[in-house]
């Protein structure tokens, strides 16, 4: 039997004290907050920049370089211009009844800035020296159209493949006629857009008559309005084939009848018609005579943005 002193020190307080000290040590020293202020200030400064200021800075930087095609790095080379027999593009602002451009104050000293921009664009189109948008301008437009969806066929698809719009804003079905687009329309509606723009090509011309064409559009529009109350609908003009193709394919050449029909329907029904005829230049056609090239879509983007969302902040 071991002999131990009768009184045993109570070991609890010592153990407790040791635990407290260990705990305090484990918490560790906190960093000196003033060390971080420089870093945090830097981050705050970056985040507090305004979008408009960044854009301005980017434009300034771009201006210091040559104004070359930002995407491909090479100047845009126009194709051989074909003498135009299509009526002259409007040299001034397109008719007010078909465009929702907000009314501008008639300036006594001459055309307004918007009017001047539009005629500048029309000139670019006619002279085939379309200014390619810089990457940040493209981004700006894309952001502006983020509540807008485009529905159509392969001419709409080109919006994506030419790098103009992101793929989630464009709903298309290659080779589709209007009737086929009902499903696509519902898919588009699922993203709850505020604006819907139809941009179709010539597929229907062989299948429909102008009257049924307008009817199908009417049906589609009412479906959309059912699904999305308050949505604004826009229908782009039905663009003709190139002169070369039109000479060969008479059935396609009568697309103007469809276009007129739909234009008239729009005026009556409150859907906005976007007149793109001034954009129809022979040098914008791809060899197949139906689809358009990158320059066309660059102008298209600018114009349609203005039609759908107005002039606010648009980079000229």
């Amino acid at each position: 039997m071991l002999n131990k002193p009768r009184t045993q020190r109570n070991r609890m307080p010592a153990a407790l004290l040791a635990c407290v000290l260990l705990g305090a040590a484990a918490c560790g020293p906190q960093g000196d907050p003033s060390d971080l202020s420089a870093g945090k200030a830097y981050l705050a400064r970056l985040e507090s920049r305004e979008v408009a200021d960044v854009l301005a800075e980017q434009s300034r930087m771009a201006a210091e370089h040559e104004s070359v095609d930002a995407s491909t790095g090479a100047p845009y080379v126009p194709t051989e211009p074909v003498p135009s027999s299509v009526p002259e593009p409007p040299s001034s602002v397109p008719p007010e009844t078909t465009v929702t451009v907000p009314e501008t104050e008639p300036a006594p000293s001459g055309p307004s800035e918007e009017e001047r921009t539009l005629s500048a664009w029309a000139q670019e189109a006619a002279e085939n020296r379309v200014r390619m948008l810089s990457a940040s301008e493209l981004a700006w437009f894309r952001n502006r159209l983020s509540d807008t969806v485009f529905i159509g066929d392969s001419v709409a698809q080109a919006l994506v493949t030419e790098g103009v719009l992101p793929e989630n804003r464009v709903f298309f079905k290659r080779g589709a006629i209007l009737r086929d687009l009902e499903e696509t329309v519902l898919q588009a509606a699922a993203s709850y857009p505020k604006n819907v723009v139809f941009f179709k090509g010539l597929n229907d011309v062989d299948y429909e008559t102008p009257a049924t064409y307008a009817e199908t559009y009417a049906a589609l529009c009412s479906r959309i309005k059912e699904a999305l109350p308050g949505v604004r609908i826009f229908i782009c003009a039905l663009l003709p084939p190139s002169n070369a193709l039109g000479a060969v394919r008479e059935d396609l050449a009568r697309s103007w009848m469809f276009d007129n029909e739909i234009h008239a329907w729009c005026v009556n029904s409150g859907v906005t018609y976007i007149d793109l005829h001034w954009l129809v230049q022979q040098h914008f056609y791809l060899p197949d005579g139906i689809h358009f090239n990158k320059a066309f879509y660059q102008l298209f983007l600018r114009y349609v943005t203005v039609c759908v969302k107005g002039w606010e902040g648009v980079p000229r």
Partner: protein, 398 residues
């Protein structure tokens, strides 16, 4: 024997008293534990804690109530976090240096146990990279950042056999690349640059599985060389000094804290950027997120997280576009690439749910960078699923 007779009542009474004290304490703790309101979430574990299970006769008979009660009891124990830390410390004190996939190394270093993949299995992501280069014809640079265990093998504890582990990582990766050739792909080997940088700076976090900004800076020249560009100079600015990352959470070891730095261009102004995150309204003007520093995960200061698709446009003109397939490692490298491109598109395959074919069609003029951590790359299944075979060419209308 008289000794024993005299001693007997006292020790027994003292012992009895102590037993009583213990029982009283035990019952008191149990009462307090039961009566305290349930905690809803665990901050440390970042998950919801189990609440009191639903009490119905059927569930009691089923046994579900009882099972859930045990989960509830475990989750709601008084002082849970402290107990978990105690368990981790106790286990470490006994010489355990491995906890939940994390090696507890020298000097407070936490190093992730590397993913081991046998070379016979090709990692699916490699197949996707090959498709990008051969099928789609992109100029691809592949930057797979080695694990901390390979570069910092001397910080691993004895039990991990660091040198052998590092050697295994290196050779199995090399064997994988040998076994699956990638024509048209520039493989950027960042390991030498990182190893060289170890002596002068900290290239990985102590408590997190990511590399530090300093590590990214060291690897920058190699990666840009793979893309045909020249690196600019940057200096590092500290923005956080109390970072305890994923490895601390996983292992339960909350010791030293890390610092997070951001790279600042030297002698050049900051790049004006517009950042469009898919699914977000509006544009950001910075690739950082300041308020992430005060959140649970300060590493999110870089980009604010990972998104399916993110488009960044810079003030540079004529410098081309870059398409990046990445995981979170790339986020701290991004600020150093802004001045090299006019547009950078970031894709994190785990969250990307748009049409990949359209994406690739719309980015045909871009360079492609595939930048992952090695663990992320070897275990990624999504990249392979989203990169399709090259489309058969534009189909004719009608």
């Amino acid at each position: 024997m008289e000794h024993e007779g005299q001693k007997q009542p006292n020790p027994t009474r003292k012992g009895f008293l102590l037993a009583r004290v213990f029982l009283v304490l035990w019952i008191a703790v149990a009462l307090v534990n039961a009566l305290l309101p349930s905690k809803e979430i665990s901050v440390r574990e970042r998950r919801a804690l189990a609440g009191f299970p639903e009490f119905t006769l059927r569930r009691v008979l089923d046994g579900r109530f009882e099972e859930e009660f045990e989960a509830y009891a475990k989750d709601q124990v008084l002082g849970r976090d402290a107990l978990v830390t105690l368990n981790a410390s106790g286990s470490r004190a006994l010489g355990n240096v491995y906890a939940s996939g994390v090696w507890i190394g020298k000097d407070g270093w936490l190093i992730e146990d590397p993913v081991r993949l046998s070379p016979e299995n090709e990692s699916p992501a490699l197949a996707a990279v090959r498709r990008l280069a051969s099928g789609w014809g992109f100029e691809v640079a592949l930057a797979v950042i080695p694990e901390a265990a390979e570069i910092l093998y001397d910080r691993l504890p004895w039990a991990a056999d660091g040198a052998a582990l590092a050697g295994t990582c290196r050779t199995s990766w090399a064997a994988l690349l040998d076994a699956h050739p990638l024509p048209g792909v520039t493989v950027c080997d960042t390991a030498p640059a990182l190893s060289a940088a170890v002596s002068r700076t900290q290239v990985y976090y102590r408590t997190d599985h990511h590399w530090t900004t300093a590590g990214a800076l060291a690897a920058l020249p190699v990666i840009l060389e793979g893309l045909g560009k020249e690196a600019g100079t940057f200096e590092l600015l500290k923005v956080c000094d109390s970072f305890r990352g994923t490895l601390a959470s996983a292992s339960g070891v909350y010791g030293t804290a890390d610092e997070i730095d951001v790279p600042v261009p030297v002698g050049r102004p900051d790049e004006p950027v517009l950042v469009q995150v898919d699914g977000e309204n509006g544009l950001r003007t910075s690739v950082y997120r300041l308020d992430a520093l005060s959140s649970d995960d300060p590493y999110l200061v870089f980009m604010g997280g990972n998104y399916g698709k993110c488009t960044i446009t810079t003030g540079e003109t004529g410098k081309g576009r870059l398409l990046v397939f990445k995981d979170s490692y790339f986020n701290c490298l991004l600020p150093m690439l802004l001045e090299q491109y006019s547009e950078i598109v970031l894709i994190d395959p785990r969250y990307f749910d748009d049409d990949p074919e359209l994406l690739l069609l719309s980015m045909q003029d871009a360079q492609v960078l595939v930048c992952y951590s090695r663990a992320g790359f070897l275990t990624d299944l999504r990249l392979n699923r989203i990169i399709p075979e090259r489309a058969a060419g534009p189909q004719p209308d009608r």
